[in-house]
Symmetry: C2
């Protein structure tokens, strides 16, 4: 297993170290793990002005997968690293399935009363929509400025992610798929999504389907999250909904994600949903669980289903055993590594 | 007071009737209330194919304000009434301040554990952003389809709504204003918003400011809603955030809104955030409270501050007195009308 590791900024390095610790512990001895670290992120940008040089983008292609910690620092102007590094990778490697599972695990803090039974997966489109970087600004900084952002949506891009979502829904016990969009206002993109959703759905007669406007979906996320099984949605709605989903299922300290290229043409990338949290970097307070759960997604993507399941079980058991006494990043990593081997 | 009334669809007529009942009860006898009803919505569209004819748009201009119930029905294709009627009114009458207060009132059902102290106002931009209807679709319905949605943002449009939000923040005890956008991805629109937000802020040194990405904002809405005082944001983010805000403060049965043209050049429009709820239309189950609270916003906008406050107090008292026994739409309206006169 040839793994590229991008620790990134802030707590990124600390949590990635735990992810690798657990990965090493769970991998069967016949699988040789080779990791190569890439120095990308705020430090690199400050030092060299580079976000993701072509040579490194090329080199990354030689790996089976990428594990990323966190990117970003307040000292870097907003958008530079996001668009120059994180989104560049997602677009260059055609990560069209941005997979974000949400499950309310035992003993975790949800802000919701009554601890509803939450277990759904958001399939967020990762290569189109308002994220394409298509837009501009005219007369910038003047009282006559006009700024645009163009959401680009193609049948090609929508159909492949919708199909992926149907496959995932079909493979789950409840077999339910909800499309989230805003097709009463964003009618062109919305109708494209809805038409393809309906058409592809005819190939999956066992899957129950549903449509929600994004505003209504946020309501159900807090009042009736148990109604969701698989959700498919566009890049921006997916960004918003998955942070909210993380918040109601124990916080972004637990939320994992995979930026997946299902064809395997390019390496997929796995990362916790949380940011670089520079305020707690180096204090040992960062919870590496989201990274460890991202490692489980990585394992599953590379065909190591049994190991993926063991990592997830270890996390569930570790959470169930938490008694509130504080543990360091490293201690949590150790505990999880122990459980996956036990 | 020359009021245009658009009952609209589903429960719209029922809740508007209660709003008018309370308005009539609270208005001082020297204020003469003249109402004129406009038959617009799904029924009209089915009957004539019209959503908002020019003549009626003209006629509506002659009123001091508009009270709207709810628009929409599953029998009408998605987008027709939204864009042809509701958004047409917001754009034609330049309702650039879409005002949506969120307060967790006594005895209301919040899905949040611990009933946090929620009392904030969202100032949603109402005439720009992804709502402008600028976009299209090429090769519609084919595998080669491309669909776009363009978010248009102008310094003119952003500055006036940001200024309005600063004024509102300045007038509140906590004097805090949070800008919500996604300026790390939507960099052109995001930087326009952020630059204007910072520049106008220098004129309001007493107001504390804050910036949040929209995804992070949804997290705080459920984990720390008490941190918000006034929020200013774009049309689409505002749509999403205010539904979530309604969900955590007792549900959309209580959420009021004003589509305000602060210059007074055109009538402002007041409406509950909820939809037409065709499933409960005619059953007497609709809660008219959101409409009554919208009437309070209407009163305040027209300068009747004391009456607005009386309506809001009546609602708070009515909620506090609720014992869970079901009341009809009409009974709630009667109770509120009684309280405002009492
Ligand atoms: C950092 C940012 C560009 C990114 C996104 O918007 O996709 C993040 O919020 C995420 O969800 O992975
Ligand atoms: C019905 C729809 C067009 C509208 C909107 O998106 O603005 C509604 O959701 C609202 O929030 O008033």
């Amino acid at each position: 297993m040839r793994l590229a590791v991008i620790p990134g900024d802030g707590i990124g390095r600390e949590v990635v170290a735990q992810g690798l610790k657990v990965l090493t512990a769970v991998l069967p001895s016949e699988v040789k793990l080779e990791t190569e670290e890439y120095d990308l992120g705020a430090r690199r940008w400050h030092a060299t002005g580079e976000t993701l040089p072509e040579a490194e983008l090329e080199a990354l292609k030689g790996h089976d997968a990428i594990l990323l910690g966190a990117i970003g620092d307040p000292s870097v102007p907003s958008g530079v690293l996001e668009r120059g590094l994180l989104l560049k990778l997602r677009f260059a490697f055609d990560h069209y399935v941005n997979l974000r599972p949400s499950k309310l695990l035992p003993n975790t803090a949800t802000p919701l009363a009554g601890r509803p039974d939450i277990d759904f997966v958001v399939v967020r489109e990762g290569t189109e929509g308002p994220y394409v970087g298509n837009g501009g600004s005219l007369r910038t900084g003047t009282p006559a400025e006009v700024a645009t952002e163009v959401s680009l949506n193609t049948a090609y891009g929508v159909e492949r992610v919708v199909r992926d979502a149907y496959e995932r829904a079909q493979a789950r016990p409840r077999k339910k798929l909800t499309l989230v969009h805003k097709n009463n206002v964003l009618v062109h993109a919305g109708h494209l999504w809805k038409n393809i959703f309906d058409r592809v759905g005819r190939e999956y007669p066992e899957v129950t389907t549903d449509y929600l406007h994004v505003d209504a979906a946020t309501i159900f996320f807090v009042t009736q999250p148990e109604r969701f099984d698989v959700i498919v949605t566009d890049n921006l709605f997916g960004d918003i909904l998955t942070d909210l989903a993380a918040a109601v299922t124990g916080g972004i300290g637990l939320a994992a994600s995979g930026n997946i290229n299902p064809s395997g043409a390019f390496p997929s990338m796995f990362e916790p949903v949380h940011g670089s949290a520079p305020d707690i970097a180096g204090t040992g307070k960062a919870d590496p669980t989201a990274t460890v759960l991202s490692v489980a997604l990585l394992l599953r993507h590379l065909g190591h289903e049994a190991e993926a399941a063991r990592v997830e079980t270890a996390v569930a058991e570790d959470l169930a055993a938490r008694d509130g006494s504080p543990r360091t990043t490293d201690e949590i990593g150790d505990a999880l590594a122990l459980r996956v081997t036990g």
